[in-house]
Structures are given as C-alpha cells and as structure tokens.
Amino acid sequence: MRSRRFGLSMGYLAAIVVLGVTVVPLLFVVLGGFRTNAQINSAPAGLPGPWVTDNYASVLGSGAFWTFLGNSALVAVIATAVAVGLGSMAGYALSRYHFKGREALYTLFTLGLLFPLTVATLPLYLWLRQLGMLETFWGVAIPEAAFSLPVTIVILRPFMHAIPGELEDAAVLDGATRLGFFWRILLPLSAPALTTVGVLAFVTSWNAYLLPLLVFNDSAHFTLPLGVATFQSQYSQDTARVLAFTALSMIPALAFFVLAERRIVGGLTGSVKG
C-alpha cells in the first residue's frame, strides 16, 4: 500500500516537472507579448508589470499576420482536399478491385513513406519553376499533398478493405454501380478514417516550412511558419513584438489540436497497434 502511494506521488512529481518544462516556454511567449522591451531587457523572466497590449494590437492591426494566416489556411485546405480526395479514390481501387499489379502499386505508394521531402527539394524546385508554379499556392499545396498520399493510402486501404463485402453486393443488387457504391456508401462509412487522414494532412501542411521557404519569395505569399521565422529575424531588436507575433501564431495550431486531438493522437497511436 505504501509503495503504491509512493508511486502515485512520484507520478504527480513527474507530472509537475513535465508540465513545467512544457508550459513555461509557451507562457514566456504569451506573457512576454504583454510586456515592453524595456521590461524584457531588465528582467527576462519577469511577469508583465504593467500589462501592455500594444504589441498584440500592432500585430493584429498590421495585416501581415492575417495574410500569413490566410495563406496557411488556403494552402493547407488545398493540400488536404487533394490528399484526401485522391487518396480515398486510390485507396478504394487498391482495396476493393482485383487487378494485376495491385500489390505492386500499393508497395510503390508505401515506399513513399520513406521519401523525405528534403531529398526531392532541388529537382522539385526546378520542376515547379518549369511548370510556372513558383510563387503560387498550388506550387506548395500539390507537392505537400503528394507527400501526404502514402500515409493517406496506407491508413485508408485497410479501413476500406474491412468494410464487409455483403454491403457492396447489396448495393449492387439495388442497382448501384461500383462508383455509386464508393460515393454513396463507402465514403460515408469511411468518415472516421477520412477525418484522421485529413487531420494529419492538414497539420503536416500547416506546419511545413522548407517547401514554402523555397517556393515563396514574395512575403505576400508567406505561410505562417515562414512568416514567423522571417518576422523574428526582421524585428530581432523588437523582442516584445516578436513574442506577441509568435504567441498569436501558436493559437491556430493549439486550437486545432484541441478540436482534433483524438484524431491526431488516434492517427499516430493507431500506427503502432502492431
């Protein structure tokens, strides 16, 4: 009994340490945004005193933040729609059609799990330049969708495969074509898996840095990660404003995470059920 209580208090101790290490940097950023540079310089780890809202107001009023936010949303929505749309079609074909080379094709897609975007960046950049896709949102969204396709298909195929064949037979008896079955029955039934892959694709695209860095030169096109990094180096003397900018940039990711936590964690932990 005593050892159990000891274990529990160790658990709480660990929880407090972990929480501190995790949360303090986030608080530093958020609270720092409410301070002046003078306050930050004289006491880097202090609390705001008095609280100043100018930094947040100037970031929210400047437009750059909103531009980056909008660009990120646009790119992530396109990338997610393309990855989930094409991935579910391919997943359907690979799970419920019998044809020669099906397993080879599936292996080809799974191999994509090993291909880091970094490796492909140089030719990808030249390729996008040739296609006239530099400085366009498609130029970032389509490659990001392409690199999300393997995970999407790898998650969707077993899920679609597990949907009973009797359902398909019944649908066909009722006069549905195979495509009708896909659209009206399989996709709605796959909603949980579609949400998971959608969330994963969205987060990946939302957080991407390297590809936007290469494709966008014009700051009017910057996505949030690129914008934050650029803002930090541009205004490195104005720490308080950079902190406010960074704090505001964290909000969408954290909010999205709160909404989609189950899907994100489920998608990740589902990976290791083996």
């Binding site: 529990l8 929880a15 880097p44 490796v119 140089l122 390297l210």
Partner: protein, 323 residues
C-alpha cells in the same frame, strides 16, 4: 469478394462487358473506373515525389548551377567531393549524434515519464493534452520560441542564475562546443510529448492482470517493469526508434532557423548542407548528390531496420508503420 459478386454485377451496369467476357479479365468499364480512381493519385505521386527524387540522381552527375545548359557531366565527382569535405563529414556526424542522443536520452525519458503518467492521476486528460502541445506547433514556431528564450542574458540564463546555477550559463547558440546539444534539447522539448503519447498508448495494451500476477509471484516493481512491461512495449519502442532516427537524419527546420548550421558549421546537418549548397550557392548538381546520399542513408537504414528489427513485430511491418 469482387470475384464472387461479379456475375451479379455483370448484368446490372449498362456498360457491362460484352457477353462472354471472362470474369477475371477486367472489362473496359472496370478498366476505365480503375484509371479514373488511380490515375490522379498516381500522376501526383509520381510527378511530385518519384520523378523529383529520380531527377536528383540524374542532376547529381553534373556540375550545374540550375540555370544554364546541363552539359558538364562529371560522373561521381560530386559524391567524391561531398564525402571528402570536412563540413559534410561533420554534418553526417551531427545527424548521427542527434540520432544516438535521441535513443539514449529521449527514449528512456519518454518511457519513464509515460510509466509515471500512466497512473490514475487527477487531471490526467488535461496533462496529456498539454504535454502534447509542443508537438503540434510547427518546428518553425518552436525554433523561434527557443531563439527568444536562449538569447544571451535572456530568459533561460536568468532562470539558471535565479536557481543558483549561474555557472551553467553558456552562449547556447554561439558556442560551437554546445550548440548541437542546445538544438537537441529543443528537439527533445518538441518531440518528447509524441513519445509519451505513443508509449502511453502502448501501456494501455499491457494487461493489468499480468502485472498483478508478477507482483503475486513476488516480483519487485523493477522486475515487473523489466521483464513484463518493457517486452510488451517492444513494438511501440521499435517504431519510435524508427521514426526518431529517420527524423534525426532529415533534421532541418529547427537548425536552419536557430543557427543556419553555424557557428562555424558546428550544427550543420545533411539537410541544411543540402539547402545551403543548392539554394544559396546555386550548386544544384552538388546539392543533388548530397540529396541522393541522404536518401540512400535513410533508405538503407529503413531496409535494414525493417529486416532486423521490425520483422519481429509483423510481416510487412513497413506497411504497418502508419497503418
């Protein structure tokens, strides 16, 4: 199941294949459907993933700045140059150090914390969500946060001094002897929650009866952990190691934003080296060779790892990695 259902179907769709067509042979309609379903995904995947990687292999054989004609074929000279340069050798070593530290530091840390947090603590759900928070932030935001925290005389330094540990204060990002470990600490901050969540999920799969049985047999807490819990976490740990090593080999965003690989190349990674040479110095041929090397290292590691480690978990573990 499709085969069994096909005779029924054959009668229904108007585009049914001509009478007498063999069941196994896809009819025209089915082939069209397949093309329609698979075509777009294949086009995008091949066009934007496979072809660029293949082209990198081709470019790597040329001396080329990315703009003029591609006519200076130099064979494997770029590869020889890369491997014989001390900066790139250093970059490989840095990647390996980060990968090694991940396994030696992050993994035990994640396992220990996951086990401690696996108790019925109050507010456990909130705790888990918060621990996971850094993982959802982009690496770019993470990097900026820590650049600000680690400024000389800044937050981190003041906290250390306040705790009476002023002697630990360093030029976190400007000291070549320290910088790689600073970056590792930042990466750990961002990714340890991911490890904890994965391992907590793994721990859910350890039946309580097993632990109780071990305790009844007189096993100490440590013995139970060592001989019952850890082996059952095996698959989770092996996947974690895989993802962690691959991630360490491709490390880019945090390093690029925090140090650009400096000072004096002390934190250069293969990926920052690649981007630096490819996009800043316009050495596209050379950069492509570096990309191919990075790819081969990841690929060989993945194959060997699957062959020797993951195979124990499931057949075709590669496909189960995320599925």
């Amino acid at each position: 199941m499709t085969t069994a259902a096909t005779p029924v179907r054959k009668a229904t769709p108007p585009s049914a294949p001509a009478a007498g067509a063999r069941v196994k042979r896809p009819g025209l309609g089915k082939r069209l459907e397949l093309a329609l379903l698979l075509g777009p995904a294949l086009l995008v995947f091949v066009g934007f993933v496979l072809v660029p990687i293949g082209i990198a292999g081709f470019y790597s054989l040329f001396k080329w700045n990315g703009f003029g004609p591609l006519d200076d074929f130099i064979g494997f000279d770029n590869y020889v140059d890369a491997f014989s340069g001390t900066v790139f050798q250093g970059a490989i070593v840095h990647n390996l150090i980060i990968a090694g530290l991940s396994i030696v530091v992050q993994l035990p840390l994640s396992i220990g914390l996951a086990m401690l947090l696996n108790r019925k603590l109050r507010g456990r759900a909130v705790l888990r969500a918060l621990v996971f928070a850094p993982y959802v932030l982009s690496e770019a935001i993470t990097a900026v946060i820590w650049v600000l925290m680690l400024q000389p005389g800044g937050f981190a330094d003041q906290v250390l001094k306040g705790a009476g540990l002023g002697g630990l204060v360093h030029q976190w990002l400007a000291d070549p002897g320290i910088v790689l470990y600073t970056l590792f600490a930042v990466i750990t901050w961002k990714y340890v929650g991911f490890g904890i969540i994965l391992l907590l999920a793994g721990l859910q799969g350890v039946p309580a009866e097993l632990r109780e049985a071990a305790a009844l047999d007189g096993a100490s807490a440590w013995q139970t952990t060592r001989h019952v819990v850890l082996p059952l976490l095996g698959p989770t740990i092996r996947i974690w190691i895989f993802l962690s090593v691959i991630g360490s080999l491709q490390l880019f965003d945090v390093v690029w934003i925090m140090t650009l690989g400096g000072p004096a190349n002390a934190s250069t990674t293969m990926a920052t080296y690649l981007v630096d040479h490819g996009f800043k110095r316009y050495e596209f041929g050379f950069g492509s060779a570096v990309a191919v090397i990075l790819f081969v290292i990841c690929f060989v590691f993945a194959l060997l790892y699957q062959r020797f480690a993951l195979r124990r978990d499931t057949e075709g573990a590669l496909t189960r990695m995320v599925g």
